[in-house]
């Protein structure tokens, strides 16, 4: 709604608007209108007891349909229709933003609308509003859980797995024997599902955070090893010959050539590993019952008690944190690997 207003402000400031630009803006307005109608239907229904009437459904589905169609029509609009560059630029910008932004609104309203409309009891499926309330209510607990899961278990496991994986990968890259011996095993070990691994670690290290961090270590270790080996050994032969012509020592060659060459590979594995670590740690928390703290435990406990609103609130927190972690790794990658084609969008 606010976005619509801002865009209209931008449009007003531009003076003469082409037909294409006006059409695009109209579609934006229609989308906003559809969302608003659906939202109003839901909001009004909440205060009313009893089953939802046909008016409700009409407003809800109608509003959502309008929003989806308007957004779809906008994204299908060809930017070349615009007669002038300003219009084309505006259309292109709206096309980039609107459909993506519409999706969560539509999804959440659909969810809330269905739950409210069919009066689904909270014990089966919570409404979006109740999830929001649970989030606020349980915030301190969720923060403490998130700290345990993400800082103690995920970050620690990830960092240790990265360190071990990198060192092992370096050793393997320089020994043909180890390479032939270890790499087939690494791929095989990577196939072990966490569900099989968690009990082993739970028995070995106890039910506290250490076993879950260990899951993180192992899950990070294998991709990092494989990619480190590949990165250290996939060096262009001419670059190696260059160093040979300088009579460079092996250590100099490692630091000047192999290591920077390996960095992009390592970062690829890091991006995979961080997401995998989060998921695996949470699975481990499910499977290794311990002290009732940690997001995974919170979800498990709340689920068994039927408090699905807390479940979703915890899921939300977990998702947001995972995305933050992923973006952090990606940011780090862009910073360190500015020279790499992938950072240039090449």
């Amino acid at each position: 709604m606010a976005a619509g207003g801002a865009l209209r402000g931008v449009a007003a400031g531009r003076g003469a608007m082409t037909a294409a630009g006006r059409r695009a803006l109209a579609l934006v307005a229609l989308t906003a209108l559809g969302v608003a109608v659906a939202f109003a239907a839901v909001a009004l229904q909440r205060g009313r007891p009893g089953a939802a009437g046909p008016l409700y459904w009409a407003a809800l589905l109608g509003g959502l349909l309008l929003a989806v169609l308007a957004a779809a029509r906008l994204s299908l609009q060809s930017a070349e229709d615009a007669a002038d560059r300003a219009g084309a630029a505006l259309v292109a910008r709206l096309q980039r933003v609107l459909p993506v932004a519409t999706v969560p609104f539509v999804l959440l309203l659909t969810w809330e609308g269905l739950v409210l409309g069919f009066r689904v009891p909270a014990g089966i499926f919570p409404s979006v509003a109740s999830i929001g309330q649970a989030l606020v209510r349980a915030w301190p607990v969720l923060v403490a859980d998130a700290y345990l899961t993400f800082v103690r278990e995920v970050l620690f496991g990830f960092a240790l797995g990265l360190l071990l994986g990198f060192v092992t990968g370096t050793l393997i890259a320089f020994s043909t024997f180890l390479r032939r011996g270890f790499l087939p095993l690494a791929t095989a070990f990577g196939a072990v599902p966490i569900v099989g691994l968690a009990p082993v670690l739970g028995r070995a290290l106890g039910v506290d955070w250490e076993s879950k961090a260990a899951v993180g270590v192992i899950v990070t270790f294998f991709p990092v090893v494989l990619n480190t080996v590949q990165g250290l050994t996939s060096v262009e032969p001419l670059k190696l010959e260059l160093l040979r012509s300088y009579a460079a020592r092996p250590l100099q060659g490692f630091l000047a050539l192999r290591l920077p060459n390996a960095l992009p590979y390592v970062f690829t594995s890091l991006k995979v590993a961080i997401v995998l670590t989060v998921v695996s740690v949470i699975v481990a928390e499910f499977l290794i019952p311990g002290p009732p703290s940690g997001l995974g435990q919170r979800i498990s406990l709340s689920a068994h008690r039927g408090q699905f609103d807390v479940v979703f609130a915890a899921i939300f927190v977990s998702s947001v944190l995972s995305m933050l972690l992923y973006w952090t790794v990606q940011l780090l990658e862009h910073w360190l690997l500015a020279w790499h084609p992938s950072s240039r969008g090449g």
Binding site: A71, S75, L76, R96, P99, V100, T102, V103, P104, L107, I124, F125, T176, F177, L178, R180, G181, F182, L183, P184, L185, T187, A188, G190, A191, V192, P193, I194, V195, G196, A198, P199, V200, G202, R203, A204, L205, V229, Q230, V275, V278, V279, I282, V283, F286, L287, I288, P289, G296, I299, S300, A303, G306, F308, V311, I315, S318, S319, S322, M323
Partner: protein, 653 residues
């Protein structure tokens, strides 16, 4: 030969990793073992009593007491000059020196070393156990039950070791630590609830384990004879001998005998009140403890005052009129902290409310760990403080070394590899195939669930990928959210899913539906991404070629894009297979589906043999590899023109 050469490094690395498990198992398990050892309540208690003279006919200045291995050890461990020769409660000689297990008296013994009573009556062997003939005897006088037995004048040692486990009426095997170390070929004798059993006639002995033919009754005490004899029934006065009594031998109990007792260590100078027992740590409250000052028994009982300790009460009355006064375990000084008037004690300051106020007439154990005993009255020079009997914690029940205790741990953090190997066959054959608990059956069930979920996931993934490629705005709008959806831990949604399905009437405990849905959710994303990449990987020139042929979009899709996408599809299918397996297992666990492998795994998380956990790990790994290989096989059948992308081991080069 070349293939062997290629396999060798893998074998070496695997062997190394297996070998690594041994130190890791020790590293993680020894602290647990040490903790078990450290807890005194886990220790085996032994009672130290005065040693009867070994030869009833001995006389003169040398009295033999030694003869059996552990007795000689005990004698050797005695502090110099602390041996006390007594008869009953009468001190014959104190501060005696020992030589070769014999006490050297300052002056020859007056009277016999042991006065023996009439011979014990032999009892017939019970029906069904003829081997016990000659082993069962009864004391003529039940009053002599605790007295030492002499066979032809030579002392027999009494001893048995209790089993670690409790009889529950159904159990048939019991462990007696050290049973396997019995020397000689003589059959072992077990004592169960006052009856004797001979090895081979009622039980078998395998190493340290007794295996009974019939389970002992509930709570029946089970022990193994470890010395020469043991008392079966004190009331009836029956004893069982380890070796049958040879004809012509006489087995007699001693009415009185000379014994070697332990003196307490400490200066006897009229001032010192602190003495130490020689076997520590001792029990704080020990009904078997009997200490003597010369021939006067000392009472270690703790007396309580008549009055209530309410915080203001200062005067207390005790049963005795002497002794050590303590408040909350701290010894108080007479004259300074309190005044005594007979059996009435008046404190200088009232003890705090509910404090433990005690009086020890003769002595108290001031430090059980060090075995320190404080006497109320310091002995005068020439007096002897000695112990007729007391109990101490001899050694940890689990074993005498930390390693023994480690082996005896009920749960190991990490098993030794050979234990896992030993468990494999029993694990697989525990149940017949038709039983749902059979591991192979459960594995196949989970595999089926995974394949179903993979099929669903592929369907969704490919459709989504095609939609993404054909309708660009679709991808623009949805792809970021699809990626975001992957950050949601699937396992978190499973309980919700299970609840919803349950409400829809699906019996989740026996259904593949949860596994199918969860696995599909996890697998569809990599499949989508891979297929999109594949569909887009087409060489633009090839697309132009298709246009030159005036091919329809559908033809172009089927003949060009789709075949190009297939290798990518299969590569991501392999990733998806592994992921779907995790999803299926998680779904099984959360929906309590007993038919699958997940249930077996979750059962092992906290209880059960740790080796089983590792076997299950191996099974799940093999299942994962198997599924991935299956996909590879499928790829070779469907799309043989492309090499498999996911290398199982990089080529070195």
């Amino acid at each position: 030969m070349a293939r062997v050469k290629r396999a060798l490094p893998v074998v070496v690395v695997v062997a190394f990793l297996l070998a690594l498990m041994y130190p890791v198992a020790l590293l993680l398990g020894m602290p647990l073992a040490r903790a078990r050892m450290g807890s005194v309540s886990n220790w085996v208690r032994e009672t130290v009593a005065a040693l009867p003279v070994a030869d009833a006919d001995a006389g003169g200045e040398r009295l033999p007491f030694g003869g059996a291995g552990d007795v000689d050890e005990r004698l050797a461990a005695l502090a110099r000059g602390t041996a006390v020769v007594v008869r009953g409660s009468e001190v014959l000689a104190a501060g005696v020196d020992l030589a070769d297990g014999a006490a050297v008296l300052p002056s020859p013994l007056a009277g016999p070393a042991a006065e023996l009573g009439p011979p014990l009556a032999p009892l017939p062997a019970p029906a069904g156990s003829p081997g016990l003939a000659g082993r069962l005897h009864r004391l003529p006088d039940a009053g002599l039950v605790g007295a030492p037995l002499y066979r032809d004048g030579r002392l027999l040692r009494r001893g048995s070791a209790p089993a670690l486990e409790r009889a529950d009426g159904a159990r048939r095997d019991f462990t007696v630590p050290g049973a396997g170390r019995r020397s000689g070929d003589a059959p072992a004798v077990a004592v169960v609830a006052g009856a004797a059993l001979l090895e081979g006639e009622g039980f078998e002995l395998e190493g340290d384990t007794l295996v009974f033919d019939a389970p002992p009754a509930f709570n029946a005490p089970v022990s193994l004879l470890t010395a020469d004899y043991e008392v079966l029934d004190p009331a009836a006065g029956t004893v069982v001998l380890r070796d049958p009594l040879p004809p012509g031998s006489a087995l007699r109990a001693a009415r009185s005998h000379v014994a070697l007792a332990e003196g307490l260590v400490g200066a006897v100078d009229g001032e010192n009140r602190t003495f130490t027992l020689q076997h520590v740590p001792v029990l704080e409250t020990d009904p078997a403890r009997v200490l003597y000052l010369d021939d006067t028994p000392l009472s270690g009982a703790a007396e309580r005052p008549q009055e209530r300790v309410d915080g203001s009460q200062r005067t207390f009355t005790f049963p005795s009129d002497r002794g050590i006064v303590t408040v909350d375990g701290r010894e108080l000084v007479a004259g300074r902290d309190y005044e005594r008037a007979g059996d009435v004690v008046t404190f200088a300051a009232p003890p705090p409310r509910n404090a433990a106020v005690r009086q020890y007439p003769d002595y108290r154990v001031s430090d059980p760990n060090a075995g320190t005993v404080t006497l109320a009255v310091p002995p005068a020079p020439g007096q002897t403080v000695w112990a007729a009997a007391y109990t101490y914690y001899a050694h940890p029940a689990c074993g005498e070394t930390a390693f023994e205790c480690f082996l005896g741990l009920p749960q190991h953090p990490v098993p030794f590899p050979h234990w896992v190997a030993e468990r494999v066959v029993p694990f697989f054959t525990a149940y017949p195939f038709s039983d749902t608990r059979n591991v192979v059956r459960a594995t196949l069930y989970t595999a089926a669930g995974t394949l179903v979920s993979l099929a669903f996931g592929t369907l969704i993934g490919v459709l989504l990928a095609v939609a993404f490629v054909r309708v660009k705005p679709f991808e623009q709008a949805l792809l970021p959210w699809v990626i975001a959806s992957q950050t949601i831990p699937v396992i978190a949604l499973v309980p919700v899913l299970v609840a919803v399905l349950g409400n829809l009437g699906v019996t989740v405990q026996t259904s593949l539906v949860p596994a199918a849905i969860v696995g599909a959710y996890i697998a569809f994303f990599p499949i989508t991404v891979g297929t999109v990449t594949g569909l887009r990987s087409v060489d633009p020139l090839a697309l132009d070629l298709m246009k030159a042929y005036a091919a329809s979009p559908l033809q172009s899709f089927l003949k060009l894009r789709f075949p190009a996408a297939v290798p990518y599809l299969f590569t991501s299918l392999k990733l998806g297979a592994a992921a779907a397996l995790v999803g299926a297992l998680v779904a099984e666990v959360e929906s309590n589906n007993r038919l699958g492998l997940g249930y077996a795994i979750i059962g092992q998380v906290q209880a059960g043999d740790v080796a089983d956990v590792w076997i299950l790990l191996g099974i799940s790994a093999l299942l994962g590899i198997g599924l991935v290989s299956l996909v590879g096989l499928l790829q070779r059948l469907v799309a043989p023109w492309q090499r498999t992308g996911l290398a199982a081991g990089a080529e070195d080069g």
